[in-house]
Subunit: 190 residues, 2 copies
Amino acid sequence: MFVKNKMYLASKSPRRNELLRGMGFDFEVMPTNVKEAYPADLSPAEVAEYLSALKLSTIDFQQFPKGSLFIACDTIVVVGDEILGKPKDADDAYRMLRLLSGREHEVISGLTVMTEAKKLTRHRTTKVKFRELSDEEIHYYIENYKPFDKAGAYGVQEWIGYVGIEYIDGSYYNVMGLPTQLLWQMLSEV
Amino acid sequence: MFVKNKMYLASKSPRRNELLRGMGFDFEVMPTNVKEAYPADLSPAEVAEYLSALKLSTIDFQQFPKGSLFIACDTIVVVGDEILGKPKDADDAYRMLRLLSGREHEVISGLTVMTEAKKLTRHRTTKVKFRELSDEEIHYYIENYKPFDKAGAYGVQEWIGYVGIEYIDGSYYNVMGLPTQLLWQMLSEV
Protein backbone atom coordinates (compact mmCIF):
# COMPACT_ATOMS: atom_id res chain seq x y z
CA MET A 1 0.00 0.00 0.00
CA PHE A 2 0.95 3.69 -0.43
CA VAL A 3 3.73 2.91 -2.94
CA LYS A 4 2.88 2.11 -6.54
CA ASN A 5 6.34 1.92 -8.09
CA LYS A 6 7.91 -1.40 -8.95
CA MET A 7 10.33 -2.03 -6.09
CA TYR A 8 13.71 -3.77 -5.94
CA LEU A 9 15.71 -4.69 -2.84
CA ALA A 10 19.46 -5.03 -3.33
CA SER A 11 19.94 -7.57 -0.56
CA LYS A 12 19.71 -11.31 -0.17
CA SER A 13 19.49 -11.07 3.64
CA PRO A 14 16.45 -13.09 4.81
CA ARG A 15 15.99 -10.61 7.67
CA ARG A 16 15.76 -7.58 5.36
CA ASN A 17 13.41 -9.49 3.10
CA GLU A 18 11.16 -10.37 6.01
CA LEU A 19 11.08 -6.79 7.31
CA LEU A 20 10.30 -5.30 3.90
CA ARG A 21 7.51 -7.85 3.44
CA GLY A 22 6.27 -6.97 6.94
CA MET A 23 5.98 -3.36 5.77
CA GLY A 24 3.42 -4.59 3.26
CA PHE A 25 5.45 -4.19 0.07
CA ASP A 26 5.71 -6.32 -3.03
CA PHE A 27 9.26 -6.29 -4.30
CA GLU A 28 11.90 -8.28 -6.08
CA VAL A 29 15.30 -9.20 -4.74
CA MET A 30 18.13 -7.99 -6.93
CA PRO A 31 21.63 -9.34 -6.31
CA THR A 32 24.49 -6.85 -6.42
CA ASN A 33 28.10 -7.49 -7.23
CA VAL A 34 30.14 -4.74 -5.65
CA LYS A 35 33.23 -5.15 -3.55
CA GLU A 36 32.51 -3.69 -0.12
CA ALA A 37 35.54 -1.42 0.15
CA TYR A 38 35.48 2.16 1.38
CA PRO A 39 37.86 5.13 1.72
CA ALA A 40 39.87 5.01 4.97
CA ASP A 41 39.03 8.53 6.13
CA LEU A 42 35.26 8.01 6.54
CA SER A 43 33.47 8.04 9.90
CA PRO A 44 31.45 4.91 10.75
CA ALA A 45 28.15 6.59 9.75
CA GLU A 46 29.73 7.67 6.47
CA VAL A 47 30.97 4.12 5.86
CA ALA A 48 27.43 2.71 6.28
CA GLU A 49 25.98 5.36 3.96
CA TYR A 50 28.78 4.91 1.42
CA LEU A 51 28.35 1.13 1.27
CA SER A 52 24.57 1.35 0.89
CA ALA A 53 24.93 3.79 -2.01
CA LEU A 54 27.69 1.65 -3.53
CA LYS A 55 25.32 -1.32 -3.80
CA LEU A 56 23.14 0.69 -6.19
CA SER A 57 26.00 2.28 -8.13
CA THR A 58 25.90 -0.18 -11.00
CA ILE A 59 22.15 -0.03 -11.73
CA ASP A 60 21.30 0.32 -15.41
CA PHE A 61 17.88 1.96 -15.44
CA GLN A 62 17.29 0.84 -19.05
CA GLN A 63 16.95 -2.73 -17.83
CA PHE A 64 14.08 -2.00 -15.44
CA PRO A 65 10.48 -0.81 -15.86
CA LYS A 66 9.89 2.94 -15.95
CA GLY A 67 9.46 4.36 -12.44
CA SER A 68 11.32 1.53 -10.69
CA LEU A 69 12.48 2.16 -7.16
CA PHE A 70 15.64 0.65 -5.65
CA ILE A 71 16.53 0.08 -2.00
CA ALA A 72 19.89 -0.85 -0.52
CA CYS A 73 21.05 -1.00 3.06
CA ASP A 74 24.32 -1.64 4.85
CA THR A 75 24.56 -2.36 8.56
CA ILE A 76 27.75 -2.10 10.61
CA VAL A 77 28.56 -2.63 14.28
CA VAL A 78 30.86 -0.15 16.00
CA VAL A 79 32.47 -0.79 19.36
CA GLY A 80 34.97 1.75 20.66
CA ASP A 81 37.00 2.69 17.57
CA GLU A 82 36.54 -0.60 15.77
CA ILE A 83 34.07 -1.40 12.99
CA LEU A 84 33.05 -5.04 13.24
CA GLY A 85 32.14 -6.80 10.02
CA LYS A 86 31.19 -10.44 9.62
CA PRO A 87 33.40 -12.83 11.61
CA LYS A 88 35.86 -14.95 9.63
CA ASP A 89 35.47 -18.05 11.80
CA ALA A 90 34.47 -19.23 15.28
CA ASP A 91 37.55 -17.70 16.91
CA ASP A 92 36.81 -14.34 15.32
CA ALA A 93 33.15 -14.58 16.42
CA TYR A 94 34.33 -15.31 19.98
CA ARG A 95 36.64 -12.29 19.89
CA MET A 96 33.79 -10.03 18.74
CA LEU A 97 31.27 -11.24 21.33
CA ARG A 98 33.86 -11.00 24.10
CA LEU A 99 34.47 -7.41 22.95
CA LEU A 100 30.72 -6.62 22.99
CA SER A 101 30.09 -8.26 26.38
CA GLY A 102 29.23 -5.91 29.23
CA ARG A 103 29.31 -2.69 27.26
CA GLU A 104 27.35 -0.50 24.90
CA HIS A 105 27.96 -0.52 21.16
CA GLU A 106 26.41 1.16 18.15
CA VAL A 107 24.63 -0.39 15.20
CA ILE A 108 24.56 1.91 12.19
CA SER A 109 22.53 1.26 9.05
CA GLY A 110 23.10 3.26 5.91
CA LEU A 111 20.06 3.33 3.65
CA THR A 112 19.81 4.39 0.02
CA VAL A 113 16.54 4.82 -1.87
CA MET A 114 16.84 5.58 -5.56
CA THR A 115 14.70 6.21 -8.60
CA GLU A 116 15.94 7.41 -12.00
CA ALA A 117 15.05 10.96 -10.92
CA LYS A 118 16.16 11.01 -7.32
CA LYS A 119 18.56 9.44 -4.87
CA LEU A 120 18.50 9.72 -1.08
CA THR A 121 21.05 8.31 1.37
CA ARG A 122 20.73 8.49 5.15
CA HIS A 123 21.66 6.50 8.22
CA ARG A 124 20.22 5.57 11.57
CA THR A 125 22.15 4.73 14.74
CA THR A 126 20.92 2.47 17.53
CA LYS A 127 22.68 1.83 20.81
CA VAL A 128 22.73 -1.74 22.14
CA LYS A 129 24.01 -2.93 25.50
CA PHE A 130 24.93 -6.54 26.23
CA ARG A 131 25.24 -7.63 29.84
CA GLU A 132 28.39 -9.59 30.81
CA LEU A 133 28.32 -12.80 28.78
CA SER A 134 29.98 -15.92 30.18
CA ASP A 135 32.36 -17.98 28.05
CA GLU A 136 29.85 -20.83 28.28
CA GLU A 137 27.10 -18.63 26.82
CA ILE A 138 29.30 -17.29 24.01
CA HIS A 139 30.48 -20.75 22.97
CA TYR A 140 26.94 -22.14 23.18
CA TYR A 141 25.69 -19.38 20.90
CA ILE A 142 28.44 -19.68 18.30
CA GLU A 143 28.15 -23.47 18.11
CA ASN A 144 24.38 -23.51 17.85
CA TYR A 145 23.64 -20.40 15.78
CA LYS A 146 26.79 -19.99 13.64
CA PRO A 147 26.52 -16.20 13.28
CA PHE A 148 29.07 -15.95 10.48
CA ASP A 149 26.82 -13.97 8.13
CA LYS A 150 26.16 -11.27 10.73
CA ALA A 151 28.06 -8.06 11.40
CA GLY A 152 29.34 -8.16 14.98
CA ALA A 153 28.70 -11.94 15.15
CA TYR A 154 25.20 -11.75 16.60
CA GLY A 155 21.55 -11.69 15.56
CA VAL A 156 19.36 -9.60 17.84
CA GLN A 157 16.41 -11.88 17.00
CA GLU A 158 18.29 -15.00 18.12
CA TRP A 159 18.93 -16.65 21.49
CA ILE A 160 21.77 -14.29 22.42
CA GLY A 161 19.49 -11.32 21.78
CA TYR A 162 16.74 -12.76 23.99
CA VAL A 163 18.92 -13.55 26.97
CA GLY A 164 21.89 -11.20 26.68
CA ILE A 165 20.73 -7.74 25.63
CA GLU A 166 20.11 -5.37 28.52
CA TYR A 167 18.63 -2.56 26.45
CA ILE A 168 18.24 -1.11 23.00
CA ASP A 169 18.04 2.62 22.54
CA GLY A 170 16.55 3.44 19.12
CA SER A 171 15.18 1.24 16.36
CA TYR A 172 15.07 -2.51 16.98
CA TYR A 173 14.60 -3.16 13.27
CA ASN A 174 17.74 -1.19 12.56
CA VAL A 175 19.65 -3.74 14.65
CA MET A 176 17.90 -6.53 12.75
CA GLY A 177 19.19 -5.02 9.50
CA LEU A 178 16.71 -2.50 8.09
CA PRO A 179 15.65 0.82 9.67
CA THR A 180 12.01 0.42 8.65
CA GLN A 181 10.69 3.71 9.95
CA LEU A 182 13.48 5.68 8.25
CA LEU A 183 12.74 3.79 5.02
CA TRP A 184 9.04 4.67 5.29
CA GLN A 185 9.95 8.32 5.72
CA MET A 186 12.38 8.30 2.78
CA LEU A 187 9.84 6.57 0.53
CA SER A 188 7.36 9.33 1.29
CA GLU A 189 9.93 11.86 0.08
CA VAL A 190 10.92 10.09 -3.15
CA MET B 1 19.95 -25.47 28.27
CA PHE B 2 20.91 -24.21 31.75
CA VAL B 3 17.50 -25.03 33.27
CA LYS B 4 16.60 -28.59 34.18
CA ASN B 5 13.27 -28.10 35.95
CA LYS B 6 10.03 -28.94 34.21
CA MET B 7 8.71 -25.58 33.03
CA TYR B 8 5.17 -24.22 32.64
CA LEU B 9 4.11 -20.98 30.98
CA ALA B 10 0.81 -19.50 32.17
CA SER B 11 0.01 -17.78 28.87
CA LYS B 12 -1.62 -18.70 25.60
CA SER B 13 -0.09 -15.71 23.82
CA PRO B 14 1.64 -16.96 20.65
CA ARG B 15 4.20 -14.17 21.04
CA ARG B 16 5.21 -15.24 24.55
CA ASN B 17 5.37 -18.84 23.40
CA GLU B 18 7.64 -17.93 20.51
CA LEU B 19 9.97 -15.88 22.71
CA LEU B 20 10.27 -18.57 25.37
CA ARG B 21 11.00 -21.14 22.67
CA GLY B 22 13.56 -18.72 21.22
CA MET B 23 15.29 -18.73 24.60
CA GLY B 24 15.87 -22.44 24.05
CA PHE B 25 13.44 -23.82 26.64
CA ASP B 26 11.13 -26.80 26.59
CA PHE B 27 7.93 -25.98 28.39
CA GLU B 28 4.22 -26.61 28.53
CA VAL B 29 1.48 -24.05 28.21
CA MET B 30 -0.84 -23.95 31.17
CA PRO B 31 -4.12 -22.02 30.91
CA THR B 32 -5.10 -19.87 33.88
CA ASN B 33 -8.56 -18.85 34.93
CA VAL B 34 -8.23 -15.71 36.98
CA LYS B 35 -10.22 -12.52 36.59
CA GLU B 36 -7.80 -9.72 35.79
CA ALA B 37 -8.93 -7.26 38.47
CA TYR B 38 -6.60 -5.24 40.69
CA PRO B 39 -6.83 -2.85 43.66
CA ALA B 40 -7.45 0.75 42.58
CA ASP B 41 -4.57 2.28 44.53
CA LEU B 42 -1.74 0.51 42.71
CA SER B 43 0.77 2.27 40.46
CA PRO B 44 1.02 0.96 36.87
CA ALA B 45 4.18 -1.05 37.67
CA GLU B 46 2.44 -2.54 40.70
CA VAL B 47 -0.58 -3.43 38.55
CA ALA B 48 1.61 -5.36 36.08
CA GLU B 49 3.39 -7.19 38.91
CA TYR B 50 0.13 -7.90 40.73
CA LEU B 51 -1.55 -9.36 37.65
CA SER B 52 1.44 -11.56 36.79
CA ALA B 53 1.48 -12.98 40.34
CA LEU B 54 -2.30 -13.40 40.28
CA LYS B 55 -2.05 -15.72 37.26
CA LEU B 56 -0.05 -18.18 39.38
CA SER B 57 -2.11 -17.76 42.56
CA THR B 58 -4.24 -20.85 42.00
CA ILE B 59 -1.43 -23.33 41.29
CA ASP B 60 -1.77 -26.62 43.16
CA PHE B 61 1.80 -27.94 43.40
CA GLN B 62 0.52 -31.47 44.14
CA GLN B 63 -0.67 -31.72 40.56
CA PHE B 64 2.74 -31.09 39.01
CA PRO B 65 6.05 -32.96 39.01
CA LYS B 66 8.45 -32.22 41.86
CA GLY B 67 10.66 -29.21 41.09
CA SER B 68 8.29 -27.68 38.53
CA LEU B 69 8.84 -24.08 37.62
CA PHE B 70 6.04 -21.67 36.66
CA ILE B 71 6.21 -18.45 34.66
CA ALA B 72 3.54 -15.79 34.24
CA CYS B 73 3.70 -12.35 32.67
CA ASP B 74 1.35 -9.43 32.30
CA THR B 75 1.98 -6.54 29.95
CA ILE B 76 0.25 -3.17 30.14
CA VAL B 77 0.52 0.04 28.13
CA VAL B 78 0.54 3.35 29.98
CA VAL B 79 0.01 6.71 28.30
CA GLY B 80 -0.24 9.79 30.47
CA ASP B 81 -2.34 8.66 33.44
CA GLU B 82 -4.25 5.99 31.55
CA ILE B 83 -3.61 2.25 31.52
CA LEU B 84 -4.61 0.83 28.15
CA GLY B 85 -5.86 -2.74 28.09
CA LYS B 86 -7.13 -4.64 25.06
CA PRO B 87 -9.46 -2.60 22.84
CA LYS B 88 -13.15 -3.53 22.94
CA ASP B 89 -13.76 -2.92 19.25
CA ALA B 90 -12.46 -1.01 16.21
CA ASP B 91 -13.57 2.37 17.61
CA ASP B 92 -11.76 1.70 20.86
CA ALA B 93 -8.64 0.61 18.95
CA TYR B 94 -8.79 3.85 16.94
CA ARG B 95 -9.09 5.88 20.14
CA MET B 96 -6.03 4.15 21.63
CA LEU B 97 -3.83 4.54 18.55
CA ARG B 98 -4.87 8.19 18.16
CA LEU B 99 -3.85 8.64 21.82
CA LEU B 100 -0.46 6.95 21.24
CA SER B 101 0.26 8.85 18.00
CA GLY B 102 3.09 11.41 18.16
CA ARG B 103 4.07 10.81 21.77
CA GLU B 104 6.00 8.56 24.09
CA HIS B 105 4.31 5.86 26.16
CA GLU B 106 5.43 3.13 28.51
CA VAL B 107 5.08 -0.60 28.20
CA ILE B 108 5.37 -2.37 31.54
CA SER B 109 5.62 -6.13 31.94
CA GLY B 110 5.21 -7.77 35.31
CA LEU B 111 6.93 -11.13 35.52
CA THR B 112 6.50 -13.85 38.14
CA VAL B 113 8.70 -16.93 38.39
CA MET B 114 7.68 -19.51 40.95
CA THR B 115 8.70 -22.88 42.33
CA GLU B 116 7.26 -24.57 45.39
CA ALA B 117 10.15 -23.14 47.42
CA LYS B 118 10.46 -19.65 45.97
CA LYS B 119 8.53 -16.91 44.25
CA LEU B 120 9.95 -13.84 42.53
CA THR B 121 7.99 -10.96 40.98
CA ARG B 122 9.56 -8.05 39.13
CA HIS B 123 8.77 -5.70 36.28
CA ARG B 124 10.50 -4.04 33.40
CA THR B 125 9.56 -0.75 31.75
CA THR B 126 10.26 0.17 28.12
CA LYS B 127 9.60 3.54 26.52
CA VAL B 128 8.13 3.57 23.02
CA LYS B 129 7.57 6.56 20.76
CA PHE B 130 5.20 6.57 17.79
CA ARG B 131 5.56 9.30 15.17
CA GLU B 132 2.36 11.12 14.15
CA LEU B 133 0.10 8.52 12.58
CA SER B 134 -2.38 9.56 9.92
CA ASP B 135 -6.03 8.47 10.09
CA GLU B 136 -5.45 6.52 6.88
CA GLU B 137 -2.61 4.58 8.51
CA ILE B 138 -4.54 3.87 11.71
CA HIS B 139 -7.61 2.62 9.83
CA TYR B 140 -5.47 0.54 7.47
CA TYR B 141 -3.77 -1.11 10.44
CA ILE B 142 -6.94 -1.87 12.40
CA GLU B 143 -8.73 -3.29 9.36
CA ASN B 144 -5.84 -5.49 8.25
CA TYR B 145 -4.32 -6.60 11.55
CA LYS B 146 -7.30 -6.56 13.97
CA PRO B 147 -5.22 -5.85 17.10
CA PHE B 148 -8.03 -6.69 19.54
CA ASP B 149 -5.97 -9.15 21.58
CA LYS B 150 -3.20 -6.63 22.22
CA ALA B 151 -2.83 -4.14 25.05
CA GLY B 152 -2.74 -0.63 23.59
CA ALA B 153 -4.14 -1.95 20.27
CA TYR B 154 -0.81 -2.55 18.55
CA GLY B 155 1.78 -5.26 17.98
CA VAL B 156 5.33 -3.97 17.78
CA GLN B 157 6.21 -6.86 15.46
CA GLU B 158 3.47 -5.90 12.97
CA TRP B 159 3.19 -3.35 10.18
CA ILE B 160 2.46 -0.43 12.50
CA GLY B 161 5.61 -1.25 14.47
CA TYR B 162 7.73 -1.33 11.32
CA VAL B 163 6.55 1.95 9.88
CA GLY B 164 5.33 3.95 12.86
CA ILE B 165 7.71 3.54 15.79
CA GLU B 166 10.35 6.22 16.03
CA TYR B 167 12.32 4.65 18.85
CA ILE B 168 12.28 2.10 21.64
CA ASP B 169 14.22 2.73 24.80
CA GLY B 170 14.73 -0.52 26.70
CA SER B 171 13.80 -4.11 25.89
CA TYR B 172 12.13 -4.77 22.54
CA TYR B 173 10.97 -8.19 23.74
CA ASN B 174 9.28 -6.55 26.69
CA VAL B 175 7.11 -4.64 24.20
CA MET B 176 6.44 -7.90 22.35
CA GLY B 177 5.15 -9.36 25.61
CA LEU B 178 7.97 -11.04 27.55
CA PRO B 179 11.05 -9.34 29.07
CA THR B 180 13.40 -12.17 28.09
CA GLN B 181 16.57 -10.84 29.65
CA LEU B 182 14.83 -10.16 32.99
CA LEU B 183 13.41 -13.69 32.86
CA TRP B 184 16.86 -15.14 32.25
CA GLN B 185 18.18 -13.25 35.26
CA MET B 186 15.30 -14.34 37.51
CA LEU B 187 15.70 -17.98 36.44
CA SER B 188 19.33 -17.85 37.46
CA GLU B 189 18.21 -16.73 40.93
CA VAL B 190 15.47 -19.32 41.45
